[in-house]
Symmetry: C2
Subunit: 307 residues, 2 copies
């Protein structure tokens, strides 16, 4: 039940209407690893960091069973840095700074010890890098999940379309689904996107939940209504980590199990937003996760026999 995750490990500066932090650990692969390592103890990380990335953060991940052989450390460059500011509704944000630093020369090498992994989670990266990672794998994973963003639709659409042909599950948000398909209706958008390659499509709608499409089927997972959303940074990556973590644990890539996996992802994301960065993810226990999953059952279960 091994999982390769590819993505960024970074520093973030975050400002919300309620608080701010100047420098906190972030990056898509960091969030995926924190979420997925609740379910499997063989997360194989592929990333790149600079000389400034703290050794103790590496150690925290190792303690959770995350392998870091695929994390390149560049001695003379800084780690990727992102800074953003959230609007009052916490659903939208402005990017203030993007310092690529080590990311400019990210050219991931899959270590020999990672070969044979059954699951692959491609975090949001340049499509040509995502494709290169897939091509380095000697054996195709049972399931390839991929995240992307509007930036690559604007700047590298042809490469993106090539990757789409190679993957099983695509994760995008509602605006990106509309952009990629040219359709306003998410149902129509989903069917067009699935024709581009992925058999499964997950459309994330932030506080409005997520939709899973497969063939003619659609499943909806709500976001848990929370008293306070403290910091949404990383919620999408945490969702992805919970999703792929559950699938890697159960080794079941059926549509029915993906529904459960999306609920698990939503539960993990609901923790993520409770504190800055991955702080909350570092402290939660299996019991916390089980309790939250029960809240999701309460949130959506109804008795249709009453009709």
């Amino acid at each position: 039940m091994s999982l390769i995750t590819v993505g960024t490990m970074a520093f973030d500066a975050i400002e919300t209407p309620f608080d701010k932090v100047d420098k906190i650990i972030g990056g898509s692969a960091t969030y995926v690893a924190y979420a997925a390592s609740n379910f499997i103890n063989d997360v194989k990380q592929v990333s790149i960091v600079g000389y400034d990335f703290p050794e103790e953060e590496m150690q925290l991940l190792k303690n959770r069973g995350v392998k870091l052989d695929g994390v390149e450390i560049v001695k003379d460059k800084k780690s990727f840095f992102w800074s953003g500011k959230y609007h009052i509704d916490m659903n939208s944000r402005d990017t203030l700074i993007t310092d690529l630093n080590v990311l400019e020369s990210f050219n991931p090498k899959i270590p020999e010890s990672y070969q044979g992994a059954e699951f692959l989670m491609l975090g949001n990266l340049m499509p040509s890098i995502q494709l290169d990672v897939i091509r380095q794998l000697k054996e195709r994973p049972k399931l390839i999940v991929m995240d992307t963003m509007n930036f690559w639709m604007d700047t590298a659409l042809e490469d993106l379309k090539k990757v789409l042909k190679e993957i099983d599950v695509l994760l995008v948000n509602d605006g990106e689904a509309r952009q990629l398909s040219g359709e306003v209706s998410l149902v129509k958008a989903a069917h067009k996107i699935m024709e581009m390659g992925p058999r499964f499509l997950i459309i994330k709608k932030g506080e409005h939940g997520a939709l899973l499409f497969h063939k003619k089927n659609v499943f909806f997972a709500p976001a848990l209504p929370l008293e306070d959303v403290f910091d949404p940074t990383g919620a999408g990556d945490t969702f992805a980590g919970g999703f792929i973590g559950h699938i890697a644990k159960t080794k079941d890539i059926s549509y029915d199990n993906m529904k459960t996996a999306i609920i698990v992802g939503s539960a993990m994301a609901s923790f993520c937003v409770e504190k800055f960065g991955p702080d909350r993810l570092k402290e939660i226990t299996k019991e916390d996760i089980d309790d939250r999953l029960k809240e999701f059952v309460q949130l959506v279960n109804f008795d249709i026999a009453l009709v």
Copy 2:
């Protein structure tokens, strides 16, 4: 299982990005009656129309068991007229014209034959009128459900607060819940609003579904993802009609049954948007409704045992 519904019966002119109509039957009580009459055959309508409201529309409602003794016909005035234009996302709209006409002198009288009704649905109207209706009832209904809007929060907040003390279930949209409570978080907003009177609060989020709050509990009903949303006009009222119709049919005002009722309301609303005005509601059968309810089960049911 009798239900009194109070609200407007009107003409609408509607423009969407895809089509337009100059004059079509509308009004909150019209939509509530079309939806609720699928579940009970004793809907007692309270409204006001002008000389121009078509007799055949009245007859269509009568054929569905809707009583019209409480619908005042004003011989020398026109019916209420509303005109609106939807934006490309179909989630927002501009009001172009509001001709109150008969509504200016709406002073509903509850007919003697309506007394003793077990359920009351107060459509969106001036709060003092809603309160007056409640006071005219000799016996308090088992459940009073009320719709309102931001306009009354701006112009008649004190009256609105008086009505809130008298009702059981309040229906508002997310923006209205935030305005009424002064809270951005919908969870916090819900608890503040329930302290104002209603034991149950339904927050409608349009295409993003609806939340039901009661005490510490929260339940979420998604909107059905549709290929095409043709005309959202009346979807909220149709939701309300399906909700109260199911409750009136089952005579069960428990929280558990309200969850089912919200799903029923969402199913009815999903039909409403498929054609202009109430056209689609006029043609659907019990079988159509049952099939759609099954789609809702497919949409949200997951197997937590798989975790």
